[in-house]
Symmetry: C2
Subunit: 365 residues, 2 copies
């Protein structure tokens, strides 16, 4: 059973296909979406994903009459860099990619972001397809945000560039390491926390099935998670207002990632801590204590971290936050839960209060 | 007398102001367009332009209540590189530019392209203002094409990002070196050749006034040149078809620049040769001989080169062309004049014919 949903963005609308074994039919999906057979297409992937999936995907595309070439980068956040982008563009040029070519992201969030920014900027924009191979990427592969990092800040150089479609083969998730599975589920839980109390409860009730990679639970969870993301993005493609709610947990989360050095904390782990922090902040702003207790209980149930390692420097975390994109004209914008399944965009959170939360996250347990 | 014209692009429409001494009033223009005073703004400029204009522009913006910071790059095409973009973003981050900030290009085409791509990609896009200080930039500052170079190809990594407005102070042109003046006028002549026979004749008749920097002739020529550019861009913002006519002379021109090493031939010089080549090609395709003779006569009148230096390698030129963006699905797309003031997009030009033209451009004189 294939589940399909649409990201509604006018002429930039596109479908997300979710199901087991979809990569077997990759050629048919490319054909259905009118991908050029006359121009070469580029598959961007990483060293881990390439081992398992690059050859079969390439073979199937060739069988279907496409001209795939590939560029494999090192697995990990360090590949989201301008220097790597330049190397990928070298491959594009050497392979003769032209304006009718397509760039395909085969991998997790790092690959989606990197390949997406290549697609957005190569010849000022070519077509783009997302083939996510991680749970975390159910978030990043929907919505068109693509970017690379700068040594001083994450995702600071990028674009909005929507894919033609997202092809989500859940079989690829079965080989993920346990730590990555849990970290990926962190974004799924986030989609419940910001939008859908019922789905949040479902996540908590199905923690074991999800962390155990039960196919049916995975497909349903990804479908619901992508659905929340699609609904939000459809209403606010370029993050003028609503879309900011997707950043729940990300203000502290991004700062932790920056301070830890990219890669030490997985993204999903960092934002789990960040979401617990946002829940603490919420309670301090007068919302019910339950928001904190439930949020923390869920993440513990998924085996995700809920505290900042004590050796992280508070000043460094605060400075990293100042570089984050969620500051407008000096004001601190914060996504704060108001109940389970609902958040608000609070534009008047004082840095002192956030600092206090960071200190508490380092101490309590 | 200020001349004003509008680039019509729906909600992305913007005005171009052309006149002497406009920089005196730079603060008023920024205010009129609602540029944020609460967020810092970044002026990107080069070492040459900075000497004359950075201090006065900065002072006037501060007097008007804005918070300008600046980043000065080395003058020249080499600054259109990803590594330089990363340095500019470092300045953005250190100065605390946020989503309401604006990036200002103060300089010629290189600065416009670099600063524009910073504006397009920093935080996935912030506001952008063009303050061109060269004649050549009357072309590049209109239409929203921004990009940096890759070692293997020019302008290959970029975006479409329209400015809020273009502020063209013709006084800044008076200090340009003579060679740059002539090279800049090459794009002005191009705008006549592709769109307006009458304006082409006016250019030829006023060659001495234009190369002599007569203020009235300059203002009129820039107004007409920008007008052609604006008309074309309004009809085809993202170069699906019509906009390609602006590339007259650029297929050979870009290849010459790549082979020469960026900077040896000025862009305007390279495309002058390219336009003569396109005219030769036109005659070979059966159009009247006059197209070639008139085209060549005009460029000679402006003291621009009309031949390829004999030591340039023909194979290298042809290879560079293959990397150019004007190839779609292996076909060679060429902008060919059909009469003075009119061109066509010819999608079936054989590489052999182009090679023949390149050889003739190296020999005849």
């Amino acid at each position: 059973m294939i589940k399909e949903l649409t990201v509604n963005l006018g002429e930039r609308s596109y479908p997300i296909y979710i199901g087991q074994g979809l990569l077997e039919e990759v050629g048919a999906y490319f054909e259905k979406h009118g991908i050029s057979k006359a121009s070469p297409l580029l598959i961007v992937t990483d060293s881990h994903v390439a081992e398992r999936y690059l050859q079969p995907v390439t073979d199937r595309l060739k069988e279907a009459g496409f001209q795939p070439v590939s560029h494999t980068v090192q697995a990990g956040e360090k590949s989201k860099a301008l220097s790597v982008l330049e190397e990928v563009v070298t491959t594009c040029l050497e392979a003769g990619l032209d304006r009718k070519s397509t760039v395909v992201a085969l991998g997790g969030g790092v690959i989606g972001d990197l390949a997406g920014f290549v697609a957005a900027s190569y010849m000022r924009g070519v077509r783009f397809i997302q083939i996510p191979t991680t749970i975390l990427a159910h978030d990043s592969s929907v919505g068109g945000k693509v970017a690379v990092n700068h040594p001083l800040a994450k995702n600071i150089i990028g674009a909005f560039h929507q894919p033609e479609f997202v092809l989500y083969d859940t079989s690829t998730l079965l080989s993920l390491p346990d730590r990555e599975v849990r970290a990926g589920l962190s974004e799924m839980i986030k989609h419940g926390l910001i939008w859908d109390a019922e789905f949040t409860t479902w996540c908590e009730d199905n923690a074991d099935r999800l962390t155990g990679l039960d196919p049916e639970a995975l497909q349903y969870g990804l479908y619901k998670g992508c659905g929340v993301k699609a609904a939000v993005v459809s209403q606010d493609e370029r993050e003028n207002d609503l879309r900011a709610i997707l950043n729940l947990g990300h203000t502290i989360g991004h700062a932790l990632e920056a301070v830890a050095g990219y890669g030490e904390l997985l993204h999903g782990e960092a934002i789990a801590i960040g979401m617990v922090g946002a829940a603490m902040l919420s309670v301090q702003l007068g919302n019910p204590e339950e928001i904190h207790t439930v949020t923390e209980r869920i993440f513990r149930k998924f085996g995700l971290p809920v505290r900042i390692p004590a050796h992280y420097d508070t000043d460094a975390i605060m400075t990293a936050m100042m570089h984050d994109k969620k500051f407008k004209e000096g004001q601190m914008v914060y996504i704060v839960p108001t109940e389970i399944g609902k958040v608000e965009i609070n534009k008047n959170v004082s840095a002192a209060l956030v600092r206090d939360v960071v200190e508490r996250l380092k101490q309590e347990d």
